[in-house]
């Protein structure tokens, strides 16, 4: 009997924390999303789907959703293509390659909160670094973080800068995994650089690309630190992203019901999206055995 239970005993410590701080919270959020629980309802009251209806009627919610989609899409597209491009270049060179790796990767090891502060300082109007050089070149000053049309892009730039080195390193792992004989065979067959990329390299690293794509989706939907430090969601909600919105609702306005509802929406959205991607693209990915 004890022998049969033994494997589960090994799993118990990890499973215990996993259940209490990952799975239970998910169900707790779903449960709480059916309650009004805020400053006017200090003890929670069951109200069915009213939180969801309130949110869907609220233009701020749609604005946040739009911002998040723009943020995710643009960071994914730009940082993945740039990272792949850089990985291919780094893979080509020998001399200086560790300098390039260190220079491109270091943003990964500094906290986003610290990075956001440095970038905020670069973005300061008039005497910040960017405006200073723009002014020197004769361009007008740009209000990087206070202009509702530009602020989200300023935040996106930080997100790309922070993770590009990490994705580059992951792509590099994929590139270094391609057997040299395969590339040589393609060269012997007379394939030019572009053909080698589209018919050999890109298919061979597809499992890496797929993996990076998935972590990029999850990562970009979690972006909050730079929003908190740089803009607090403003101006006019133009940089308010989903996790910051959760924070604002639950911890600034003490609206826990809405916070739980937003959490539920985010998790369901993530799970549906990721399983959809696994079903549609995941099958076509090449996995080496």
């Amino acid at each position: 009997m004890l022998k049969k239970l033994k494997p589960y005993l090994y799993l118990l410590p990890a499973l215990f924390f996993l259940i209490i701080f990952t799975y239970y919270p998910v169900f707790r959020a779903i449960y709480l999303s059916f309650f009004k629980w805020n400053t006017s309802y200090p003890s929670k009251v069951f109200t069915g789907f009213s939180n969801y209806i309130d949110l869907f009627k609220n233009p701020d919610f749609w604005k946040v959703l739009k911002n998040s989609v723009i943020y995710s899409l643009s960071t994914i597209v730009i940082s993945m293509s740039l990272a792949l491009f850089l990985a291919i270049q780094v893979n080509k060179v020998l001399f200086m390659s560790s300098f390039y790796k260190v220079a491109l990767f270091y943003p990964t090891v500094i906290p986003m909160a610290a990075a956001a502060l440095i970038w905020k300082w670069m973005y300061i109007p008039d005497y910040g670094l960017l405006d200073f050089f723009l002014g020197k070149l004769g361009f007008p000053n740009i209000n990087w973080l206070n202009n509702a049309k530009i602020a989200l892009w300023s935040i996106i730039a930080v997100g790309i800068w922070k993770y590009i080195g990490y994705y580059m390193i992951l792509f590099l792992a994929g590139l270094q995994n391609i057997p040299k004989s395969l590339i040589d065979a393609a060269i012997v067959e007379g394939a030019n650089g572009r053909q080698r990329f589209s018919y050999v390299i890109f298919p061979m690293i597809s499992s890496y690309t797929f993996f990076i794509f998935i972590i990029n989706i999850i990562n970009s939907l979690q972006a909050i630190d730079q929003v908190y430090i740089m803009t607090q969601g403003g101006p006019a909600n133009s940089t308010n992203l989903i996790v910051y919105y959760i924070y604002e609702q639950a911890f600034r306005f003490w609206n826990r019901g809405i916070g739980a509802t937003l959490t539920t929406i985010l998790i369901i959205f993530l799970l549906v999206l990721v399983s959809f991607i696994f079903r549609s693209i995941g099958r076509r990915v090449y996995y080496e055995v």
Binding site: F17, V93, M96, A103, Y106, L129, Y228, A250
Partner: protein
Amino acid sequence: MKFKYSVLKRLVKHNILSHILLFVISILVLIPLFLMVSTAFKSLPELLSTDFHWIPKKIIFTNFRDAMEVAPFGRYYMNTIILVISILAVQLVTISLASYAFARLKFPGRDIIFLFFLLQLMIPPQSIVVPNYITIASLKLLDTKLAIGVVYFASAFGTFLLRQAFRAIPRDIEDAAKIDGCEGLKTVFHVFIPLAKPSFIAFALVSVTYHWNEFFWPLIVTDTVRARTLTVGLAMLTQATESTPEWTLTMAATIIVVFPLLTIFVIFQRRFIQSFMHSGIKG
């Protein structure tokens, strides 16, 4: 014409174009780092003067002293170091036990439970702060280091990584250990963990980096300097000086926060990059 062609050929042959591109982009990526260092050693009057120099006219160190006076960075350091080490220590125990079970034992429901572990990768801690905060509050843990750490005590990522490493260990070694009287828990600690050392180091580097740099969850569950970590302390400092932001002081404080990890990274860059490279993806 002929000359031009040979130049082009040489450029391609020695990857000169790649070097130029990589060099320019590397410098662009390094600019924030240069700016941080340059600002931290400047005096405030020089910073506010109209001209900009990467290298300060007069290099001063007082910004660091001032930053240490404005905020208790010593305390934040202690908190962060204790936190990062304790999380790693607990994680090592939970993940090696679980990985051993997944890699070597046969039992009903193994694959389902493993999937259940992996699903955690899709539910990052940031997205469940609201219910977790409520749990932590009802456990009366708010404003403690345990509150920050406890949500990370199980790591799906670590379990996955170690399971791969454990599976690669030959069965013969395990059998030999068995003959010598090593079984169960003893095998895990005397055979599996020592043999999977590279994976442990990779995991440790990733875990320490992640938790040293973490900001949002510690921000929410801490209220006072008692448990506050470096990143949260840094943000508090800038909010305190918001009306007249002293960027010289802020950048000095930023250096105080990023310095240890950045230094370790530069020294052990190969190991670091290898760890991040293979941690996510192998297998």
